[in-house]
Amino acid sequence: MSFRRYSAIFRKEGLHILRDWRSLAMALGVPILLLILFGYALTLDVDRIPTVIYDQDGSPQSREVVERFRGSRFFSIVERQGDYREIIRRIDNSTALVGVVIPRDFARKVAGNEVAEVQLLFDGSDSNTASIAAGYAEALVLAYSSELRERQVIRRGAGKMPPPIDARVRVVYNNELKSRNFIVPGLIAVILMIIAALLTSLTIAREWENGTMEQLLSTPVRPTELLLGKLSAYFVLGMADMAIALALGVSVFGVPMRGSLLLLIFASALYLFGALCWGILLSTVTRSQLLAFQVALISSFLPAFLLSGFIFAIPDMPFVIQQFTRIVPARYFVALLKGIFLKGVGVSVLWADILFLFVYAVLVFALASRTMRQKMA
């Protein structure tokens, strides 16, 4: 290992990065684009659901139900309709996701101790929102119903009802339950993976395609020097992306950063190093920029996006896929990011995730450097 040769490779790669403005723009622009897209557009929070109400009864009791919906932050009444078909029409053209129908005999049944009904209609084509909305609506109707019963019991002079059980909910972390607070940190894992694997997947293949590899092979430069020189240049770029994502996440999206910044940087460096080695490995094996790029895209972006627990919770996945996520490095990094950002926990809790990233980085580096030695000999 010669420092002179290593630094020559490092500086040359740096020049390539700076000269190729399209790749550079992609490397620095993609994180910003993804953060804006996901930070603003992708919100998994369900509130102000557009709701249509058809109150056939028009009684004080039915109006009370309507007021409950109006008062809830989860529902936003877009129209009070006088027609059942209008509700269906609105759900069809997606201007409403929920329809509430209060039948004509609502007040009479409430007063006459009969089971009164409220019909709730949901647009199941957006099943996630529909099931969440159904939960809110049912809870709202149930709460009104138990209140009514209590009032009647009191009116009859039968004393107080036995108090119902009250569930006291305390959300320990991310207590506003803002999806943005876990999407933005998780996104860092996706961004680093895409940038690292995609850019490095091109770097060795380009040398083969341009014939410069032949020239390099005739010089005393060693495979490890070439590997480390290239890795270092892209490492700087990747850490710049990390800094951009962190700064934007905290300043623009107001994501809390409760844990140690040093730990975050260390974990990111480990993860980035592994991802860079993966890209270089692909580039070395395929020797083709196009092929390496495609394989890198599929093998880095998809697992980091789908199997990391970034958006889709791992415990909800089928058993086989859950087992598969164990070999996805992004899974451990997403766990680290959530732990550091939202919970503010340290090494004593996160050591296993750090250990995995370390093992992964070492393994892929060893594999990349072995493959490179074979291909270059």
Partner: protein
């Protein structure tokens, strides 16, 4: 790298097979120090394969080769430090300037920082690129690129230079200028091993080997080779006669 005793290049029954195809077939030759040694032959004759083995880029299947006294199969690192290599395929970095290419190759050849300015200035002067230090390499014309590639290959002052069809695709004037450089290099004591398929370039070599189907079918100085084919024979006559003789033998 201190000069060693013996030949600059020593090849003994070298064989290279790719599966069943024999690219290099029992080649034996010696190149003396300071010599311009030519490798003449049609495309696919095994010239490039032989040179790549001598540069440590390919492992030989059988036989042995020593370059600057080092065994190419077992000491490729030492061989690479003793040679400069330039191939027919243009192989500098297009998106780097002339100066940045020189600086990069100084680095990978391990040239100490304090002597770099001197070496790079020499390479620039030799390539006739003074004043073009900040020009992007992709903007240089073919002949200039070739000379810059040569300049990059000699930054570490290698005792032996391997040039694999360095002048293919370059116009005749640029070719002539390139050969002037080769002569200057040989005069300063560098051994030059050069392959070509241009007949007139064969005449410029001190000694040459005719290569055909992986074999050396003739070996000698240009004068010797021509004399053996009767008075007034040209290099072209020698080449054709040798190939016809070889074909007749193998039939």
């Amino acid at each position: 790298m201190q000069p060693r005793n013996g030949s600059a290049v020593e090849v003994r029954s070298l064989v290279k097979r790719f599966n069943s195809f024999v690219a290099v077939d029992r080649v034996t030759l010696d190149v003396a120090r300071g010599e311009i040694f030519g490798f003449l032959g049609p495309n696919g004759a095994g010239k490039s394969t032989t040179i790549r083995i001598l540069c440590g880029l390919l492992a030989p299947t059988e036989g042995s080769a020593r370059v600057h006294g080092f065994n190419v199969a077992t000491q490729p690192e030492l061989v690479k430090k003793s040679i400069g290599y330039m191939s027919q395929k243009f192989s500098l970095y297009d998106d780097l300037t002339v100066e940045e290419n020189l600086e990069f190759f100084s680095g990978v050849y391990g040239v100490p920082r304090n002597v770099r300015p001197l070496r790079q200035a020499y390479a620039l002067k030799m390539a006739g690129l003074e004043g073009e230090e900040h020009t992007m390499t992709r903007l240089l014309a073919g002949g200039w690129k070739q000379r810059l590639a040569l300049g990059c290959a000699i930054l570490h002052q290698p005792p032996i230079l391997f040039l694999d069809e360095p002048t293919s695709g370059v116009d005749p004037i640029a070719r002539r200028q390139f050969w002037d450089l080769i002569y200057a290099m040989a005069e300063s004591g560098t051994t030059v091993f050069v392959s070509t398929h241009y007949m007139e370039e064969a005449e410029y070599c001190h000694r040459l080997a005719l290569m055909y189907k992986g074999r050396t079918i003739a070996l000698g100085t240009p004068a010797e080779l021509k004399a053996s084919h009767g008075p007034g024979a040209t290099m072209n006559d020698v080449f054709i006669a040798s190939i016809e003789h070889e074909e007749a033998e193998s039939r």
